[in-house]
Symmetry: C2
Subunit: 413 residues, 2 copies
Amino acid sequence: MEPEKISTESYKGVRDFYPEDQAFFKYLTSTMREVVAKFGYAEYHASILEPAELYRSKTSDEIVNEQTYTFVDRGGREVTLRPEMTPTVARMVAAKRRELGFPLRLFSIPNVFRYERPQRGRLREHWQLNVDLFGSKSAHAEAEIISVAHALMIAFGATEDDFIIKLGSRNFLNALVRKLKLSDTDAKKLRSILDKRSKLGVGEFERQLVDLGIAAEMLDDKVVPEDVQAVLDILAARGITNAAFSPDIIRGFDYYSGVVFEVFDTHPMNSRSLFGGGRYDNLLALFNEEKVPGVGFGMGDVTIKDFLDVRGLLPAYIPTTHLYIAVANPEMVARAEELALMLRKENVAVAVDFGDKKLGDQIKAAAKHKIPYLLVVGEDEVTSGTYKVKNLASGEETALSGAELSTFFLNLK
Amino acid sequence: MEPEKISTESYKGVRDFYPEDQAFFKYLTSTMREVVAKFGYAEYHASILEPAELYRSKTSDEIVNEQTYTFVDRGGREVTLRPEMTPTVARMVAAKRRELGFPLRLFSIPNVFRYERPQRGRLREHWQLNVDLFGSKSAHAEAEIISVAHALMIAFGATEDDFIIKLGSRNFLNALVRKLKLSDTDAKKLRSILDKRSKLGVGEFERQLVDLGIAAEMLDDKVVPEDVQAVLDILAARGITNAAFSPDIIRGFDYYSGVVFEVFDTHPMNSRSLFGGGRYDNLLALFNEEKVPGVGFGMGDVTIKDFLDVRGLLPAYIPTTHLYIAVANPEMVARAEELALMLRKENVAVAVDFGDKKLGDQIKAAAKHKIPYLLVVGEDEVTSGTYKVKNLASGEETALSGAELSTFFLNLK
């Protein structure tokens, strides 16, 4: 009895990365690693599995109760697939705070999970660069974190006209709540109104504020809070000109405690928040008595890919394999492998065909792999010791001896 | 009311990677990527979440029922954290078999999950290089896969004396089962006895074989099956001398269908199987009618780390940050950042202290980070334009102008 065929589809809302997708992912993460390393950040990592309690007290209830993947393991432990990395890095820093030096600069590129309806830019799993600086209360800390975000955008090929960095302040917001003596419920409403400002439109935004007894003038972006101004001054000294105060920038998570920021695309077709972060000075107090101030941000791979796509900044695919060696018949494979072995010693990446199919199909396979160069090993080549290296894109052929081959590929790099 | 403190421990059986752990992981994975790329393998990736049905028909029941993390998502779908990568890559290849060229060389370095009692080398989550070659029935395919495994061991600093590659054959085993007319139960028993050979000892091994009506001579490693001999001949031609037939090598998974192999540590303190793989020609038939032959192996990070540790082959930790800039007081930070900005443009990785703590503590932090060089920016340095670069390991100091600094670091690389 034939068993039923299994579907080749991946789990809903997650992605398969074929070589071309993975090559883009490699470009993205290599660029991220290069930029943050220059600022002195060291890479860390952790498992996607975390005790569920890690998310109970500090993220909004909505996330813990409706949006996480949480299950009970065979040992009765409640375990969560991390929905974000900040609680994890806070846990790790709290665990070794005596051994680690401060200021401590850390980054990671983890995958994070949210159970939600898949839609553009919001999959169930995405990858997210997390950059965090612990142990400094200086405004230079926020300025550096924002500078790293800025440097990343530039490294991806964006100009300062392509994006704007909007800064807000939780201190400013909290002062407003105190001044107006807002109840907890109304304070939450205010945060929600601010968060939805662009969606509400000016009229509805002001109407909802008035309902809470707040005049729109109280949220004037001309009156810059002190903490935001200090960061803006340092950014200006660093030569960053596309940053400005925006009172509606508050960020979703409850743990933010000071200056927060979001990077917005300025493109009319895609004018939305790309990513953001801010200061969270009290998060580590969840684990032990000592407070360790922190500031950081997270940048997701899907959003950045969309941004690069709209701007025409996606890099072309270049496979890591330089040369494909096809064979006139299976008896030639040993000779093809000798040649490949010699070239690999010279750091040329070579794939060999074992002659399962005829020559025409071997060449088609090389083309499907988008490998740039091809040569065929047959009786003639073995006798003469001369190989014709074909550029598969242009069709151009170069006749070379075995010894000349490695020089040919080294000069291409 | 103070909320209760949360534990800083990670979930049981998984690991936190602090910068030194991550640096080793980076060394491991970079070496893997470099070696396999030279053989023409392209990197792919997939989510850890897979539909549970993917593991039902082809892995042993034990794994699916007792050792996987399987749960039901909020949409009622049964989902599994992948326990191994082969079913995933088979699924991906089956899904795009018309677009992909064959032979197809793929690799990935995924994390995989097993619910089992944590013990040395057997965590609940580990990372595993997976190397697979699809579309060739040639013995050159097995030989290449084994050559890649061999090249990896050499790249990690091992010599041919440090490990031995043992080859077995599922064809040989199946022929034996047919010849002896063993029932399915007895065939399973035979596989189990072979799998436990080294644990059983010679006497018990032979006794259990006799119980099944098998004479020990039938499993003589002097009588090499044809398929294994063909691979051994190619390996010898490639200059690989530490490979041999061993009739007890069968591998656990049901999907193996031809030559299988395992790499063993030859160290008396750690003489165990490090990793292995083999040919699986029928796996893709689970997804569609077409058969696509495959051969591959998986190499786990924990086992390899243990191997390198025992052999004294673990690399020393070198942070990616070259220079730490401390400040005499917080007013100096702007000058320190100017200097850092200049050096970063020359590709020097620089961390700046924001002066939250006094100078002595800043230097201690740099030492905790193991950053090799330090300089202090104070009134004197700003006035003179000369900086003393200190090698924190040797204590040696070099006085340099701002312009000389970048040359100093470029020459170090």
